[in-house]
């Protein structure tokens, strides 16, 4: 078992709900400060986005964050270098799109991630059917696969069986982006995935507040929080501000708020 999954299982088994913030790499000069702030606020895993010019599954906030990072000159290299210099208390997972993974080859890409200290990898446009090559290359890294409300029972089983680190349950049929409330599909999806795997199952897409986070973990083992944070950064929030947001969610997950 790889580092990431050992960690996520241990947290889950400890009864703690996982908080997984997402930060777009290279979004700002001090972007890694947002990682530290997130870790300090109680994140269990950190997702670092490697921005892609055509992020097909992302809504406006992460689109704009990606564009901003690319406009600032962020590259795979620069982001991995930045991450390699950090010493973070929790595992770091890369989130990106297939074209960046395969451009110089999945082997090269996975090696680069490992060298920079990443523990896992999420590539939303590489569904399980297309994942063989990447799975083969990702030794030492967990490849986190996604399930969606549209995924059939049979596929849920297959995806959960081949996913590493956790299963990323996409709470709704849509792109990333903050929503006021989680749809009913979210809880059902988490429950149905948990029924076929003992991997931690985390809900993402639309988790944007203590309330939605708490709603999510009624069924799920944790949440992934991205767009709402990136929107804050785009609006000028400091690492400290973002830390405060995450602290609120942490508290909600821990049952301490309200």
């Amino acid at each position: 078992m790889n580092v990431l999954e050992t960690h996520t299982r241990r947290v889950r088994d400890s009864g703690r709900k996982l908080l997984v913030p997402y930060v777009t790499g290279g979004l700002a000069g001090d972007w890694t400060d947002y990682l530290h702030a997130a870790a300090d606020a109680g994140a269990d895993v950190l997702e670092v986005g490697l921005p892609f010019s055509d992020p097909m599954l992302d809504g406006p906030a992460i689109q704009r964050a990606s564009d901003a990072a690319l406009a600032r000159g962020a590259t795979i290299d620069s982001i991995l270098t930045d991450v390699s210099r950090l010493s973070l208390p929790v595992p770091v997972v890369a989130m990106t799109y297939a074209n960046l993974v395969f451009r110089r080859g999945a082997e090269w890409f996975c090696a680069a991630l490992r060298d920079a200290g990443f523990s896992g990898l999420i590539v939303p446009d590489v569904p399980v059917d297309e994942a063989d090559e990447l799975l083969a290359a990702a030794t030492g890294l967990d490849l986190v696969l996604l399930v969606s409300p549209a995924t059939t029972r049979e596929r849920r089983r297959e995806i959960a069986g081949r996913s590493g680190g956790y299963v990323y349950a996409v709470s709704l049929m849509g792109t990333t982006g903050a929503r006021a409330a989680l749809p009913a599909s979210a809880g059902e999806l988490a429950r149905s995935v948990k029924a076929v795997t003992d991997l931690p199952v985390l809900l993402g897409f639309g988790v944007s507040s203590p309330a939605t986070a708490r709603a999510a973990v009624v069924e799920a083992d944790g949440v992934i929080v991205g767009s709402t944070l990136m929107q804050q950064v785009l609006d000028g929030s400091s690492p400290g501000d973002v830390g405060v947001s995450l602290t609120g969610m942490r508290a909600a997950l821990d049952g301490l708020d309200a």
Binding site: F52, S53, D54, P55, M56, L57, D58, G59, Q63, D67, L70, T75, I76, D77, Y97, A98, N99, L100, V101, F102, R103, R104, P124, D125, V126, P127, V128, D129, E130, L145, L146, V147, S148, P149, A150, T151, T152, R155, I159, V170, M173, G174, T175
Partner: protein, 381 residues
């Protein structure tokens, strides 16, 4: 999907289905429905009937006598410019719209560059009583105002896309994003031989009517079969009729959107192909005077044909393309689309250089008419 499906989803190493998990069931549904429909004589008859009594098929094969004489070749034009709505796009769209109706979908989603595919989709939507939403880059909206108004007149909603290069690539990305939210009641009516499986295969099948007709219209196998390549649907449909012949297949890309000629292997919009990109894999902006060719990727079958040598891919630049529009207009009385003029321009150059030898017979697909491009050409005049 089963390994058989994975197999069928590929053209050599190209193709595939690189889409978010949310879209997998929808793609599988389309694949299943199309496979069934394509084996169903009732469906095929209905499509053939509509293509004939509604869309004006078969389109003629016109001997271009005066231009032939000037170039020293025998040039035959496959006249997709005469199809209803003004381009070959209607062939694919009528097929997909009938399929969507058969699947019980109430809505069509489409991306468009030149607007040809958007107009065709809006047309099919109106014909079958389906709501239609078309995504179009803001830059293309500016240069193709005629087509925007045509879409709206047909009752379609046209949604401007302001991300990225604000052209076809971004419209396509946005349409995919939107499809994720609307798979239940909506069919994504993709406009070329691209996207995730089964689109490249399905669209090729819907467009092969071009090549099949042309094959039955020629008296002998031509020496060259030429078509422009944006996503590659008119070329794929044309080539399909001549793959088993000795004809040399030539796909003509825009110099500034030459994914086959100048690109490298990559994954965009759900499939592996050749793409214009930087060292990291960031997609480059294409630049062509022809909005329908202003796309940094290409259909996977073309990437495959290029790698096997089954077809050859070449490029021409904007200046030659504009000159070709004028030359064809003045010699044959046909104002073709800027996209189609790429094929004409290549032939003019190749005949001049001797690359296409004197006396050769050339079948060239005129994918569309130029009305939509008049504003662009007026600015240059």
């Amino acid at each position: 999907m089963s390994s058989r499906t994975v197999e069928r989803s590929r053209f050599g190493i190209y193709g595939g289905r690189f889409v978010p998990e949310s879209l997998i069931p929808a793609c599988e549904d389309v694949e299943r429905a199309f496979t069934e429909a394509w084996h169903d004589p009732v469906f095929r008859d209905r499509l053939a009937e509509i293509l004939s009594v509604y869309a004006g098929r078969p389109t003629p094969l016109t001997p271009a006598l005066r231009l032939s004489a000037e170039l020293g070749v025998t040039l035959l034009l496959k006249r997709e410019d005469l199809a209803h709505t003004g381009s070959h796009k209607i062939n694919n769209v009528l097929g997909q719209a009938l399929l969507a109706q058969r699947m019980g979908k109430a809505r069509l989603i489409a991306e468009t560059g030149a607007g040809s595919h958007g107009v065709a989709t809006a047309t099919a939507g109106a014909l079958l009583g389906m709501a239609t939403t078309v995504f179009m880059g803001e830059r293309d909206i500016e240069r193709q105002q005629l087509n925007v108004f045509r879409m709206r007149t047909l009752g379609a909603e046209v949604i401007p896309v302001s991300t990225g290069s604000r052209t076809l690539k971004d419209a396509c990305t946005e349409a995919l994003r939107h499809w994720v939210t609307a798979v239940d009641d909506s069919h994504y009516c993709l406009g070329s031989v691209m996207g995730p499986h089964p689109y490249p295969w399905m669209v090729r099948e819907f467009q092969r009517v071009i090549g099949d007709e042309a094959r039955s219209q020629v008296t002998a196998v031509p020496d060259y079969v030429v078509a422009c390549v944006g996503g590659g649907s008119n070329a794929a449909g044309t080539f399909a009729g001549f793959l088993d012949t000795s004809a040399r297949l030539i796909g003509v890309e825009a110099e500034g959107g030459a994914a086959v000629t100048a690109g490298s292997d990559g994954i965009l919009h759900g499939f592996r192909t050749r793409v214009l990109q930087d060292a990291d894999g960031q997609i480059a902006e294409a630049h062509s005077i022809a909005p329908g060719l202003d796309y940094p990727g290409v259909g996977p079958e073309h990437a495959h044909f290029a790698s096997t040598g089954q077809a050859r891919y070449v490029t021409v630049g904007d200046t030659d393309v504009v000159a070709a529009v004028h030359r064809l207009a003045r010699t044959e009385g046909i104002i073709c689309a800027l996209e189609s003029a790429h094929a004409v321009a290549w032939l003019i150059n190749a005949a001049a250089s001797g690359e296409v030898p004197a006396g050769a017979t050339v079948l060239l697909t005129l994918s569309g008419r130029g009305d939509k491009d008049m504003a662009t050409l007026m600015e240059l005049a």
